[in-house]
Every structure is written in structure tokens, then in C-alpha cells.
Symmetry: D2
Subunit: 160 residues, 4 copies
């Protein structure tokens, strides 16, 4: 089964991405059409976010996402599928934070075949920062805002 | 652990939905925060679509989605998360087709707790109809367009 | 793709089973061979155990398995695969408790196609009852032992 | 949540293992008890087998497992769970082939925490070689038997 290009969608602009992580497509990620199931790409993107966060110096905790009083939940996902990935494909997961608002921020991802450059999908994931006790949205602390802004530089949009 | 309401988002308008299907949250759908993982809701929605399609009289095939030369792929997903579901919650998955274009059509879903009415999420999933040999988008055949339009009635938008 | 019989293994003896639950194979349970992935059958069996437990009158809790100070963990799984299940197959999941020892007990499962009777797999799952604070194995309380024994009757083996 | 040792089971004998592969526990591998779900370890073991096979020089194909007319299916899994893994744990997956019979062979796995050495589980997976057209078991070809035996050396048992 040859890797078939279904979409001739324009290749993504990678110039704003400073973080890349690789995932291997496993046999159990694929559905009965022989292609990665549409929900699984959200797992790849989440793994990209975790590695991004780790590389920024955060500690990943077993019981949730981060320590130091950070509790983040996904508020919205958007994903466009261009070409299907298949078993054993090696995927480059590009991750960046596109903007920070008061209580929320937005990850963007691009997924490409690491060897052929085939464009699989792009994704936006809006995260909201919750008060760890009330579970109500609250402003992300300045110390963390600074870490994200320092890493992303001019590519991040700060919307107050 | 009490079911905690995080979002006071307005309840969804269910009046346009003619199809409902129930899913039970399983222990393996939940992540380390104790809530259903964000990718899993896409599985619930897909199950809703399959049951919708079955109830319209289509035959589900083992090797893909439908018989009679229909090959449909997900082109885009959008999902908003309002409140988290937890292990053993019973979910009402509401499914409808919001519009049909030439080669694509759009499913919309609303997911609620079947007992308490807690609003979990809403989702849009844009599907594209592919030629089974070339894998290029092609117009969904009139016989199938008619089935969908007959079922949805005035609630479906036809965009030529 | 016709349902192909791979194994002519003898059909299972169902006479000892008093509990049956149905699961539908979903597209995302299947791997790139077009058959249900070997790990997914453990999910089907676990769902069978949860429904068995529910039907005995236990309350399933969001944060774990059961209330009333029961914390049960899987200690061992054994599973034999005879014929593969495919997308949209309807599976009869038969569940029983074969024996109870001091701190552990053993679930047995048989999975068959609900329409054709094709024998998919059989499974044994040994569970251990843990002290909820120390996480060390402790004797399952008599009130629960009695519930299981009353339900299973002569088919359960009690090994003290 | 500290990594808690539940079982004081004897550490495994690793001296026979020549292949190690690392997996990271992701948030979506964990269930509502905050520990990796029992079915997911079978995915880790399968990934270990794929990397073992790749490292021996086989080509992994998108449509199945291997090229050159090899079609292998899982016939039986056995797995013992000693201590639970949690989100973000790094797992050493040790893989070896313990024996080869006429039409079948047996993978053995040991999974340990890569940093602390905590013993998570051990697994046996019996694979059967199928004729690619009839789907009936047939003898694994000598060229492949030789590759496995050459790699494993004295540690593999050949049972004719």
C-alpha cells in the first residue's frame, strides 16, 4: 500500500515553530480503513504539548499536568486533516503557543511525515487555566506567562 | 467525587436533533485527572454517526464505512468542552447533519449526561465524500443526498 | 470482506455463565490488519466485569471501581484468541467468577459473535483485593464473598 | 502522589534479554485510578516487538506486520501485573523470543521503570504464523527462523 497523497493542500509555514517532537504510528492507532483514526491525532498533539512544557522546564506530575498550582484543561480543539498517516509512519509534531489571553492560551500544531514531508494535519487547542480549588478560570500567573513569552519571542501574541 | 459543574455555558438547543444514542463512560476512557480524555469524545461522536447512518438504513461494512461505493473521510473536527464526564457516566450523544455541500457534509453533535443533563461538549465534523478509486473528492450521489434530506427535513441546509 | 473462520477450536461451554453483556466493535478498535487489536478484548472483558458487578447491586464510582472500601486491582490476565472480530461485529461478553481465594478472585470470560456464534476469545482475569490505605492485599469481606457466591451458586469454587 | 511500591515481587532476571525499547506513559494511558490501564501494557509490549523486529532487519509494512509473505497473529497473551505505572513514567520494555515451535513462537517481555527499576509487569505473547492466503497456521520459513536464532543465540529454545 503506497503512501497516497490525497490532498494537495499548501504545505504549512513552519517558520514560527521552535519545538518539534517525534511520534511513531503504532498498529493500534489505525482503524479499519488502514489509516490513523481521527481521534488519535489529538493524542499526538497532546504528547507534543507535554514535551513542549517539559522542555520549558516544567515538571510533569503523575496526578495531572503540572505542579506549582497549575491546572489546565482543554476548552476547544480544532483539527484539519489533509492526508492520512499509516502504521509505522514517523511523525514530526510541531508545537507552539500562538497567543495568551487572560485565563486562556492557544497551542497550535502541525504534523508532517518526518521522512517525506507529507502534511497530515494542523490543530489548534485552546487551554484554560483553572483555579485548583474552585475549578473556575483564573489568570495564568505572570511567572508562567513570562516563561512562555520568553520562549516564543515575537511569534506569540499577548491579548490582554 | 461529586459531579462538579465547571461551566455555566448555556444549555444546547436540542430541537433540531432527531437522533440520540447512548454511550457509557468506561474506566479506560478517563485520564489521570479523573475525567474523560479530550480525544475520547471524538470516539463517542463517531459512534453516534455510525448509529445515525445505520438507523437511516445504510449497511456498515467491516472494511470501512458503507457499501455501495461510499467512502467518506473526516476533513475537519471542531469540539468545545464545557464540563468533564467521569467513569460510568451515561452519555446522550445527539447527532444531526447540519448541511450538505457538493462533496462534503457536516455532522453536529451535542453530548449531555443522560441523567442530570450536564452539558459535556458540542462537536462539528466535516466529512468529505471520496471517489473510491482516485481518492479525490466527488459529489455525494443524489440517492444518498435524498436519504439525508428526507430524514433531517427542514433542519438541513443544502448548499450547492 | 467475509467473516473468515480461522480457528476450528471447540466452541466454549457456556453452561456455567449467568451473565451476558453486549459490546459493538467500533472502527477505532480495529488495527491495520482490519481486525480488533489484541489489547482491545481486555477492554471488552473489563466492561463485562463492570456490568456484572453493577447487576449484582454494587455502585460503580467515578474515582475507582466500587464503594464501601473495596479497591480491586488486576493481578494477571490470560487470553486466548481464536477468531478475529471486525468493525461493527456485535459481541456477547459472558462473565463469571470461577473461584474466590482469600485475597483474590478470578473472572472468566467468553466472547462470541452475537449473531453467528463465532468464538473470538476466552479470558481469565485474576483480581486482588487491596487494603484501601496500605495497598496491601487483604481478605475480601464476607459480605461481598456472600454476594458473589449467592449469585454464582455451585459454579463458583471457594478456596480458603 | 508518590510512586508507591505495592508488590515486593522478586526483580526479573534480565540476563537473557538482548533488546530494550523505551516508552513514555502518556496521560491518556491512565485510568480513573490514576494508573496505567491493564490493557495498555499490551500496547507497550507490542511496540517492543515491532522495534525488536525492526532491529533484526525486517521491514514493517503499513498494511500489516511484515513483508515477504509473513502474516503473524497473536494467539495468546499472559501478563502479570506487579506495580502500577503512572503518567510520565519512562518504561524500559525488554523483549526476547523464548522459543520457536513449528508454526508458533513466543515473545517474552519485562517492563521496568527506566529510572527507579520498579517492576511493572511481565508478559508472554504467543504468535502464530499464518499462510497469507488460507489463514491457516504454517511453518515459519527457515530464513526467518535462522534470523531469530542467530540473534537470540543460546537463550532461544527450538522445539520441533
Amino acid at each position: 500500500m503506497k503512501q497516497q497523497i490525497i490532498s494537495d493542500h499548501m504545505q504549512p509555514d513552519l517558520s514560527k515553530y521552535k519545538h518539534k517532537f517525534q511520534m511513531r504510528v503504532r498498529n493500534y492507532h489505525v482503524d479499519s480503513l488502514g489509516i490513523v483514526h481521527n481521534a488519535i491525532y489529538l493524542e499526538y498533539c497532546e504528547s507534543g504539548r507535554v514535551e513542549y512544557i517539559r522542555d520549558l522546564g516544567f515538571t510533569i506530575l503523575a496526578g495531572g499536568f503540572l505542579k506549582n498550582g497549575i491546572k489546565v484543561m482543554v476548552r476547544r480543539n480544532e483539527i484539519n486533516y489533509y492526508n492520512p498517516a499509516r502504521t509505522d509512519d514517523l511523525i514530526d509534531v510541531y508545537t507552539r503557543i500562538a497567543y495568551i489571553k487572560n485565563t486562556s492560551f492557544c497551542f497550535e500544531h502541525v504534523l508532517l511525515n518526518a521522512e517525506t514531508g507529507i502534511f497530515y494535519c494542523d490543530q489548534k487547542s485552546i487551554q484554560v487555566n483553572l483555579n485548583t480549588e474552585t475549578n473556575k478560570p483564573e489568570r495564568l500567573k505572570d511567572v508562567y506567562r513570562k516563561m512562555l513569552i520568553d520562549f516564543e519571542g515575537d511569534n506569540i501574541e499577548v491579548i490582554e
